[in-house]
Amino acid sequence: MKFVKTLTSGSLKSSACKGGCGECQTSCQSACKTSCTVANQKCENEKNK
């Protein structure tokens, strides 16, 4: 593309059918304890690795 650089094509939609195993870390346990942020979390689903 001439005018556009795509950083990521996004995988939110495809994650809907593969996800939901619930094994990943609870967000508030990581560092903050006063807010909820999931942007930085890792997926722990063995099947997605």
């Binding site: 950083l7 939609k13 999931v38 930085n40």
Partner: protein, 453 residues
């Protein structure tokens, strides 16, 4: 829905529903503002040619065709065309264990009011901790990874029970097919070699509380007789991190209305030799002089921008600093189901007090309306309360549904919402504004780093 913003000449577009992120030249960036999301034509609308003078017709039509092809590929103006399966009840797999409702500091902003959560100073007896472990094993269903955070007050004031609890939990792992992941949050005053070695071998993550510059830290994080804590804790934290061997840790500070120039505190913590840093806005009642108020937002926004710039400069020089709230994984973060469910308070995550009372999370402790049960009286919990929290997610909150940050923020903090608005579902405006700003910066850092490659 898209979100577009520019920083230092870089035009960024986030396509909210797909999670796609693009960097655009000025021309397509301007064209975007003319596109009606509900009515996207294959040809560029005539008004664009008329209004964007200074660009050739062929460039305009080419730039539009690039945007249109992104749209066709589902990477721009995409819509949610799938269902996100949510349940009413979840296995409980994470515990905040209030191992000590006592503290050896008296921090001016403590939400636990000096560590006792307005319930009197108490430490958790081993029997209660043990019952809490049995509780999570019993209630976690098929979940394998269980998380237990030792919290307070100051958890090291009850270190013996911490040790015994870890040992007990580990003894169950094989038989019950569970893996415990322990974490601890400490102010560092009681750290010694034995405790450091124990933490480094058993805790998957350790959160070390330090607010930054000595003056900033010592004006708030004081001992009961009013002395600052900086000189005691900094050497202890350094020792712990040196011996940690690359395992996860965070030096975690709090900023208040008194140090809105907190990017200096982040940089100061880094200069002490720590590269995993989290500095968060204080949570306090509006009328507290240290509270963050709406009128301070522009100053804080500038500070986050500056911090992002400092981080980029550092990393360019080959140095490393990770700021918790600027971390973002654009490729392989958690699935969308996790992203809409959020923190899991009251559903997957609960807090247990020294008396064994179960609350939706550590920040609800002390408000009896939220007691869900007691681990000493059986493992059932109040279904009404957990259903209320399960219903509180990005998809059910109108403000969140419209918000570009929803899949990164995951719907904010129910406790902040409740304290501010008396409703766990009504977002706390200041927290939202800060979260959105941090996410913009997190994506901006990724964009700068991609362009440098």
């Amino acid at each position: 829905m898209i979100h577009q913003y520019s920083r230092n000449g870089i035009n960024i577009v986030l396509d909210v529903e797909s999670g796609a992120v693009h960097i655009l030249d000025d021309l397509p960036y301007k064209i975007l503002t003319y596109i009606d999301e509900e009515n996207i034509a294959a040809e560029c609308p005539a008004i664009v040619y008329k209004e964007l003078t200074g660009y050739s017709d062929s460039d305009i039509s080419f730039a539009y065709s690039e945007l249109y092809s992104l749209y066709k590929k589902g990477m721009l103006f995409s819509k949610r065309d799938y269902n996100i399966p949510l349940q009413e009840e979840y296995p409980i797999k994470a515990l905040c264990l209030h191992i000590s409702h006592d503290c050896n500091l008296r921090c001016g902003y403590c939400f636990a009011d000096g560590g006792d959560f307005m319930q009197g100073r108490k430490i958790m007896p081993y029997e209660v901790a043990k019952a809490a472990i049995d509780f999570i094993v019993a209630r976690s269903g098929a979940r394998k990874h269980l998380e237990v955070d030792f919290f307070g007050g100051e958890p090291l004031m009850n270190f013996d029970v911490v040790k015994k609890t870890v040992k007990y939990a580990r003894s169950l792992e094989k038989e019950k097919n569970k893996e415990f992941r322990f974490t601890i949050t400490t102010n560092g005053l009681l750290l010694n070699d034995e405790i450091i070695d124990f933490i480094n071998s058993e805790m998957g993550n350790v959160v070390l509380s330090l607010d930054g510059r000595k003056k900033v830290n010592d004006s708030v994080r004081k001992t009961p007789n009013g002395k600052g804590s900086y000189d005691i804790i900094v050497p202890a934290f350094r020792e712990l991190v040196k011996k940690r061997g690359g395992k996860e840790y965070y030096v975690r500070g709090t900023f208040t209305a008194q140090n809105l120039d907190f990017s200096k505190d982040v940089i100061h913590i880094h200069s002490l030799g720590f590269d995993q840093v989290s500095v968060e806005p204080v949570v306090l009642d509006k009328d507290n002089p240290m509270a963050i108020k709406k009128e301070m937002l522009p100053v804080i926004f500038k500070e986050y921008d500056e911090l992002a710039d400092k981080l980029i400069t550092l990393r360019k020089k080959g140095d490393f600093l990770n700021f918790f709230h600027f971390m973002i994984d654009l490729e392989q973060g958690p699935c969308v189901i996790k992203r809409v469910k959020g923190c899991g308070s009251g559903t997957e995550y609960v807090a247990v007090t020294p008396d064994g009372d179960i609350y939706p999370c550590h920040r609800f402790v002390g408000n009896s309306r939220f007691i869900m049960g007691n681990v000493m009286n059986g493992f059932d919990t109040d279904k009404k309360i957990s259903a209320e929290f399960a219903e509180c997610n990005v998809l059910t909150k109108p403000e969140c549904e419209k918000c570009f940050a929803k899949y990164y923020c995951s719907g904010g903090c129910a406790a902040n919402n409740f304290n501010e608005n008396g409703d766990i579902k009504k977002p706390h405006e200041i927290s939202c504004e800060l979260e959105k700003k941090r996410i913009e910066n997190a994506i901006y850092i990724k964009a700068v780093e991609a362009l440098q490659k």
